[in-house]
């Protein structure tokens, strides 16, 4: 038991240290960029482009628009880098720009909301249980039924880079609101999965 507790403490210490090292690396690159070098910004883009793109895709449900948003967000981040005050992590600040840019674009385009019962028509191809691959496909379908703010919160939480407080900062909401959104979205996904499994059982 004591060994287990010590192991947990060690894992926590390593993850905090990794997080601090990452922040130091980012700050070092930012200092170089502010001195006038452009090449370090390429490193930041390569480091965060996947997560930034994932956030944009899950908000917009469209890869083409997400590409545009991700590109614009990075360009905005570069232009406004001197206003980044470093009280938060660079990723938090960047994801906030991605979120705001995606929401702005989303407002301009018509959104066709899919009702929850359409998700229950998605039947896993495996006959026995949802495999990992099908789970992922199901989750992607389920996410499309949520509103964009719920999708953003779920994505930011499960990317594992952000705490509830950071997500609140990124989305411009209160911590309590983020928590409620997170719980509500997961409850909806759980209900949809239940319907899917029921329908699967009926078709067997």
């Amino acid at each position: 038991m004591i060994f287990f507790q010590k192991s947990c403490n060690l894992i926590l210490l390593i993850s905090v240290k990794h997080s601090v090292n990452q922040a130091d690396d980012d700050n070092r690159l930012i200092d170089q960029i502010l001195e006038g070098q452009q090449a370090p910004f390429n490193q930041l883009v390569l480091k965060y482009q996947n997560y930034a793109f994932t956030i944009a895709v899950n908000i917009l449900k469209n890869e083409q628009d997400a590409e545009e948003v991700t590109h614009d967000a990075f360009v905005k981040a570069y232009k406004n880098l001197n206003s980044f005050n470093r009280t938060a992590k660079f990723s938090t600040w960047l994801y906030r720009i991605v979120f705001n840019t995606a929401i702005s674009l989303n407002r301009k385009t018509k959104i066709i909301k899919r009702p929850l019962d359409e998700v229950s028509k998605f039947i896993a191809t495996d006959s026995s249980q949802l495999e990992h691959e099908d789970q992922r496909r199901y989750i992607n379908e389920g996410l499309k039924t949520l509103c964009k703010e719920d999708r953003a919160v779920i994505t930011l939480f499960y990317l594992k880079e952000n705490s509830i407080e950071e997500i609140a900062e990124i989305t411009g909401q209160k911590t309590s609101t983020v928590k409620v959104r997170l719980h509500r979205a997961r409850k909806r996904l759980a209900m949809a999965l239940k319907d899917t499994l029921k329908e699967e059982a009926l078709t067997l």
């Binding site: 452009q38 996947n50 997560y51 994932t54 232009k79 992607n140 994505t155 990317l159 997961r186 996904l189």
Partner: protein, 160 residues
Amino acid sequence: MEEITHEKLLDYIDGTLDRHESLQLEEKISKDSSLAQQYQELLQIDSALQHLEIHKPSADMAKRVMVSISNPGIKRSSIYLMIITCLTVICGSYFMAEGMIDLTMLEQISYLSAIESYLPDSINYKLISNSLLFVLTIFGLVIFDKLILRPYFKKRQYAY
């Protein structure tokens, strides 16, 4: 412990409950089958979301970003300057060709005629006006090259 809601179950899954509340909840789950079922459903979703798909952008995303920050684009004021220069050249050429504008018209202006007495007679006003128009045309072409042509060809170069 109060009634167990799905928020409480999710707090337990997220590991945000204290030790005492966690133990109480575990006991309730073990005794209540419907609560256990709810817990399993939420746990299943949480487990599935742990493998949230990370989408990757196109391979040249970083390259396109770097091109965009290297060429910040044309400022609106520069475009207005170019348009005004072009219009001035076009209108100036037209009106001069029609003889509607000529620097010799300055002779008509009374307060400038006083200055005229200090100017040599051999000044060719037509030459001066044509030279000014020529300089303005060159200026317009230089701006057009700097603002439009160079960024366009540079973008094409990086695109391929």
